[in-house]
């Protein structure tokens, strides 16, 4: 296969996936609040309305519950909808169609009807947007059986995981972050799938594993670079699928390095970092040289003031500190 590739922005990689999938499969359609407004969805939907028309690019009233439910219903009768929530916080109105209906439908009807649906939630961290426009709610959805949850961190995965999510027979929660939209990376022109359920090694190392996702992968890469200057070789994993999570790669890396730091943009309590820590202790306990350390946002709603935001969102520096803590374990006295 010819794999012509060029640099593309993360948001435009999403846009390309949408164009290609809607072009390829007439059952794919996009529905949600703000699909024709760059203010809501950036340039991710550029050109879709002009190309596919309002029948398949449906900007909706502010009715998250009914609109998400409509996407579920359309999926039940054979369509492949993508329902977008331009602020992930707004998805909370749609808990019933997502959690009670979409995630349960295939199981509770004994496998009679699949729900090939993508629910796309955009995290809008920072920018003094405060507590209801910035929440990272991936752990909430990862808790639910019957949902898959993906969080691409690179333009390559943004496209490949979106295509995989659209082609999946099950409801997939696709979560991105506006902080990622301008990041550039190599993206093949043709369609391709990044398999759901597989993590990626972003950087190899022998001293410590940093398991991160979404924007925190970039913070982790920055941390690894700083650590290298101190002679510490960090292995960075991109846990780009939160559910089902890639236990194999995580455990293998933990066994190799014996030290794990988790970097997650969600809250600490009952979060994805806790889950990853738990998997490491279940799968690699005997190899651990230090307890797993979690780097997350604190158990506090997001503040508005940028002064508070500065300490709220974890950065490379916090990850470096966490790595140093795990490396000094047992040496304190």
């Amino acid at each position: 296969m010819s794999s012509k590739s060029r640099k593309l922005q993360y948001s435009l990689a999403i846009n390309e996936a949408l164009h290609q999938m809607m072009g390829e499969d007439e059952s794919v359609f996009l529905i949600g609040q703000g699909v024709k407004s760059p203010w809501y969805v950036g340039n991710t939907t550029k050109g879709l309305l002009e190309r596919f028309g309002p029948e398949r690019v449906i900007d909706t009233p502010v009715s998250e519950n009914a609109v998400t439910g409509s996407a579920v219903g359309a999926a039940l009768v054979g369509m492949r909808p993508i329902a977008v929530h331009p602020r992930m916080d707004f998805m909370l109105y749609a808990f019933d169609p997502i959690i009670n209906e979409a995630s349960n439908w295939h199981y509770m009807f004994g496998g009679k009807l699949p729900v090939p649906l993508v629910i796309w939630g955009i995290i809008n961290r920072g920018g003094e947007q405060a507590a209801q426009h910035s929440q990272s709610l991936h752990a909430v959805f990862a808790h639910i059986p019957g949902l898959k949850v993906v969080m691409p961190s690179t333009p390559y995965d943004a496209k490949g995981l979106l295509i995989a999510a659209i082609k999946d027979e099950n409801p997939v929660i696709y979560i991105d972050d506006r902080w990622l939209y301008e990041i550039e990376g190599e993206v093949p022109e043709e369609t391709y799938e990044v398999p759901i359920g597989k993590a990626a090694v972003m950087r190899e190392g022998k001293d410590v594993t940093i398991a991160a996702n979404s924007y925190m992968v970039h913070a982790a890469m920055g941390a690894a670079e700083q650590l290298r200057k101190d002679g510490i070789e960090a292995e960075v994993l991109d846990m780009r699928t939160i559910k089902p999570i890639d236990k194999g790669l995580l455990a293998a890396s933990a066994r190799k390095t014996g030290r794990v730091v988790v970097a997650d943009g969600g809250w600490k309590t009952c979060g994805v970092a806790a889950e990853i820590s738990s998997i490491v202790s279940e799968e690699a306990f005997g190899c651990l040289k230090a307890p797993v350390v979690r780097v997350t946002v604190p158990d506090v709603p997001a503040p508005a003031s940028s002064v508070l935001e500065k300490i709220y969102y974890p950065d490379s520096g916090k990850i470096v500190q966490a790595v140093k803590r795990t490396l000094s374990h047992g040496k304190e006295a």
Partner: protein
């Protein structure tokens, strides 16, 4: 009176009788504990399912509620698979994973029933949206109760369906009680059908115990949908002759109906099946023997359904995780 073929009228009668006898066959097994899952019997409301589904083809979609045995049977679902489901058997329509409140037969357009009040209304909207996108003539029907009028999603759905002019019929089965709560304690404005009008949706209230009235109204509604004139709302006034859940209102184990005795008696006199039977005899559409034969055949079907259930095994415990996800076809 409109002219209907004898065959059509007999079919309506048969559907209602099949539902009633199926429901009543569950009373004993519920009381003696054989049936363990919560069962919301449809007895008394048969005219709604029979009348509406008589208008629909297998291509049309139906979504139901916790009280949907009638919708399932009227839409063509197998009685044996229904009974097996209620008993948690592998041969059940949902493989024993759903129980009485989760019944389905996609091949007949019964796309699923679920007990989150109002939860399936928007799913029916989505099925109608799919019809619109694919330029099909299929109509989508949402059955829901009067209790669902307290849910915000109904109003969101009415607006969205009207806005997009979707081929969808909202069928509210108003049985006057939201579980134990009389409607006057739930709603500030009693006539439910009026809620649809501010959205520009044609809305009707019919005697939900009169199967022909239900049929005629549903026929107009479905025809209008097929012509692309947007959604229609029908409120069917009816009454459950059994409890909210189980044979009687056994809430807190009291087995005492919370409803006034006089009210129950009044509605027993309005029994949709007994009255339709009288109508068929009075208008010389059918002889008593003929109707008795139909009733007997339905009784046999019920017996066969229970026998089918008994022959079916329970799901295997090792399969508890089966069906959480649909397995992916290998990517090309």
């Amino acid at each position: 009176m409109k002219h209907y073929s004898k065959e059509f009228l007999i079919d309506l009668y048969r559907t209602m009788v099949r539902i009633r006898l199926c429901e009543e066959s569950l009373v004993e097994p519920i009381l003696n504990g054989e049936v363990q899952c919560p069962v919301h019997l449809y007895s008394g409301e048969e005219a709604v399912a029979a009348g509406v589904c008589a208008v629909l083809s297998e291509q049309d979609y139906v979504f139901g509620t916790h009280r949907s045995h009638g919708h399932y049977l009227a839409k063509g679902g197998s009685m044996g698979e229904l009974i097996a489901e209620i008993y948690g058997k592998e041969a059940g329509c949902s493989r024993g994973r759903g129980g009485s409140m989760h019944i389905i037969e996609p091949k007949k357009g019964m796309m699923g029933a679920a007990p989150i009040v109002g939860g399936t209304i928007s799913l029916a909207v989505g099925a109608a949206l799919a019809s619109r996108i694919r330029k099909e003539r299929r109509v989508s029907v949402s059955f829901f109760g009067d209790g669902a009028t307290g849910e915000g999603v109904l109003y969101e759905s009415l607006n969205f369906a009207a806005l997009k002019s979707l081929p969808m019929v909202f069928v509210c089965e108003n049985n006057l009680y939201s579980t134990h709560m009389p409607i006057r304690e739930c709603r500030s404005n009693l006539p439910i059908f009026q809620i649809a009008r501010p959205f520009g949706i044609s809305a009707f209230r019919v005697n939900g115990n009169d199967v022909l009235k239900v049929y005629e109204t549903a026929k107009e509604a479905v025809d209008s949908c097929r012509e692309g004139r947007g959604p229609v709302f029908i409120e069917c006034l009816t009454y459950r002759l059994r409890g909210h859940v189980g044979p009687d209102d056994n809430i807190q184990g009291a087995h005492q109906d919370i409803r006034p005795e006089e009210e129950i008696k009044r509605w027993q006199r309005r029994d949709p099946i007994r009255n339709f039977r009288k109508y068929l005899l009075k208008n010389a559409i059918a002889e008593n023997d003929e109707l008795a034969t139909i009733e007997q055949a339905a009784q046999e079907e019920v017996r066969d359904a229970h026998a089918f259930m008994k022959d079916s095994p329970h799901p295997k415990q090792k399969d508890i995780g089966k069906h959480v996800f649909k397995e992916q076809k290998a990517s090309v």
